[in-house]
Amino acid sequence: MSTATRERAVHQLEFMRGDELQIPTYKVVKQDGTPYKGAQVPDLDQALALKIYRSMARTRVLDERMLAAQRQGRLSFYMQSTGEEATTVGFAAALEDDDMIMAQYREQGALVFRGFTLDEFMNQLFSNEQDYGKGRQMPIHYGSRQLHYMTISSPLATQIPQATGYAYGQKLAGDKRCTVTVFGEGAASEGDFHAALNMASVLKVPVIFLCRNNGYAISTPSSEQFAADGIAPRALGYRMHAIRVDGNDVLAVYAAMQEARRLAVEENEPVLIEAMSYRLAAHSSSDDPSGYRSKKEEEKWREKDPLVRFKNWLLKRKWWSEEEDSALFERERQAVLEALKAAEHRPAPMVDEMITDVYDQPTAHLTEQLEQLKAHIRRYPDAYPKTSGRIDHG
């Protein structure tokens, strides 16, 4: 067949307009924790529900404490995910633990859910010698092979076509696993996004594209990012399943991801999920949102706090109490502070690590460059305090 386009002839001149299509938003519970009338509530046992909530709480606390630590000058940079915890924890909860996650940089909730420890977070944030990434990338560029969480890379959207390729390999391996890639609505403007969706649809790949539409790409509001009705309609152009969910409703995110996973793994159908939320925090510790949006707007979204909504649902089911809640947050704050204190005093990676992992083995000229560098550091040890003390012995 030369073309996949099915012809339907008409004889009146008529254009179609993009705004004829309006994608609804799937919501399960209201802010007070009661389900919407007739809402399809996912089947979730108490243990999983509490694991989700605890992960959301830990993510919230981690973000609060680490921004404070950045403000105190204890670490160079941080990115909060405040307001989006329902999306980042909810999607991970609906996956198998060995499904691959290829995220952007604001998905620490998924890592928390999978069991990345506070020490592991801190070692990366402080670029110390126990950081799996050997102190090579800025804070928040986490990765874990054990937890099937691809190391974060700063360039936006590059992970999206990679997810299509990764999932293609999973399909060939026949291991009934999928890949979920996460990105913001701003990153969805990149060419890599479109390349990834088209290739996934053409090649029938078990990949799920999760867009966190949080309203802003740094300072650029989504109204200046795209003219269409969000990101979800784009999937339809690629003949792909799509759904828009309330990203502050963890039950909606969980249910959507569960069904998306079934479509991907059982039917090799790629899926796009657009989770509607709001970036309550600044873009990063280097950003100040007061220059581009109002406190009033932020307040409106603070009232839709996803943690409060899910807590209310748990309280109504008698699966959780306010006392347990206070105790949890207090415990988490202590745990974060302890891990922080331990990590910030661990030394930086050895200078020898500068040349490892460029290739599988250091090349001769890299070894030569390292020896030259070491000789230089020995001459000026005070100028390179991170490494000079340990240059000739571990």
Partner: protein, 325 residues
């Protein structure tokens, strides 16, 4: 041994790699049942099925993004970019992703299984966009290997080594001599080492260094010089990154002169890097300035292609100038 042209040698290498390892997957624009616009992937889909050899949509950044993910998953992804001139939409994926995948993750993840095959170079009336030699852009990127074969025997052995190398490789194929370069090629599976240059002809008066299709040009110039009584030593660099400085330096310490020739424009070309490294190592051995015979610093022209190219006559003149310095 079998007589093969360079394209057949590439096809043969892919065939052997796919037969030996189910994890080898070949894809790109027109790569599937058609077998590629140059036919480098002929019959691979028939033999190994559509899952392992297939067409992709026309999107280079997507092809390499996909290839990075596939390689990270554990496959040996062999992606074709139809012309090296069209590799630039994938530049971000290659430079920021392929090259840094292992380093940035502290070796948790890597795309060592990735090989990017792409035909490069001029002399085929291809104008700006079917003639370029972009190896220098990639040579500036730690984490990549950059390989260019000069003939069918080299193409097969170096491609098999590239596919199996545990690092991402950009493999530039000299398309001008795809069919013109014919030679005896072992039928069995063999690999030639990456990162090693090869002295293809010994001489005593001057070292001529090139790679890929340009080897034929310096050979021709060496024959002309030979008639003048100038003995040329020829080296095929073969791997541009990481490059074999030891072999080149040893040769220059013997001959006292070095001429480097590539098709790509002079300024910022890889000859500049070689010249800098060799003058550091061989300063007291040099009897004349290191010569570079390269493309002009213009976009690749069409009607005046012959004038543009670093041909054997330009190389011959530069040999004379170096010897008479």
């Amino acid at each position: 041994m079998a007589k093969m042209n360079l394209l057949q040698a590439v096809n043969n290498a892919l065939d052997i790699a796919m037969a030996a390892d189910d994890k080898v997957i070949c894809f790109g624009e027109d790569v599937g049942s058609f077998g590629g616009v140059f036919r480098a992937t002929s019959h691979l889909q028939e033999k190994y099925g559509r899952d392992r050899c297939f067409n992709t949509p026309l999107v280079e950044q997507g092809i390499i993004g996909f290839a990075n993910g596939l390689a990270a998953q554990g496959s040996r992804a062999v992606a074709e970019i139809q012309f090296a001139d069209y590799i630039f939409p994938a530049f971000d994926q290659i430079v920021n992703e392929s090259a840094k995948f292992r380093y940035r993750s502290g070796n948790l993840f890597d795309v060592g299984g990735l090989t990017i095959r792409t035909p490069y170079g001029g002399g085929i009336a291809g104008g700006h966009y079917h003639s370029q030699s972009p190896e220098a852009y990639f040579a500036h990127t730690p984490g990549l290997k950059v390989v260019v074969p000069r003939n069918p025997h080299q193409a097969k052995g170096l491609l098999l080594a590239s596919i199996r190398d545990p690092n991402p490789v950009v493999f530039f194929e000299p398309k001008r001599i795809y069919r013109a370069s014919v030679g005896e090629v072992p039928e069995e599976d063999y690999q030639l080492p990456l990162g090693e240059a090869e002295v293809t002809r010994e001489g005593s008066d001057i070292t001529l260094l090139a790679w890929g299709a340009q080897m034929e040009i310096i050979e021709k110039a060496a024959e002309m010089a030979d008639k003048d009584g100038v003995s040329c030593e020829l080296i095929d660099l073969r791997t541009i990154l990481p490059w074999d400085v030891d072999t080149v330096a040893a040769s220059v310490q013997k001959t006292g002169r070095l001429l480097i020739s590539h098709e790509a424009p002079l300024t910022g070309g890889f000859a500049g890097e070689i010249a800098a490294a060799i003058q550091e190592r061989c300063f007291l051995y040099l009897e004349s300035p290191i010569a570079r015979v390269c493309g002009l610093d213009t976009p690749y022209p069409l009607a005046l292609e012959k004038e543009y190219m670093a041909d054997h006559l330009k190389v011959y003149e530069a040999i004379k100038a170096s010897v008479q310095f």
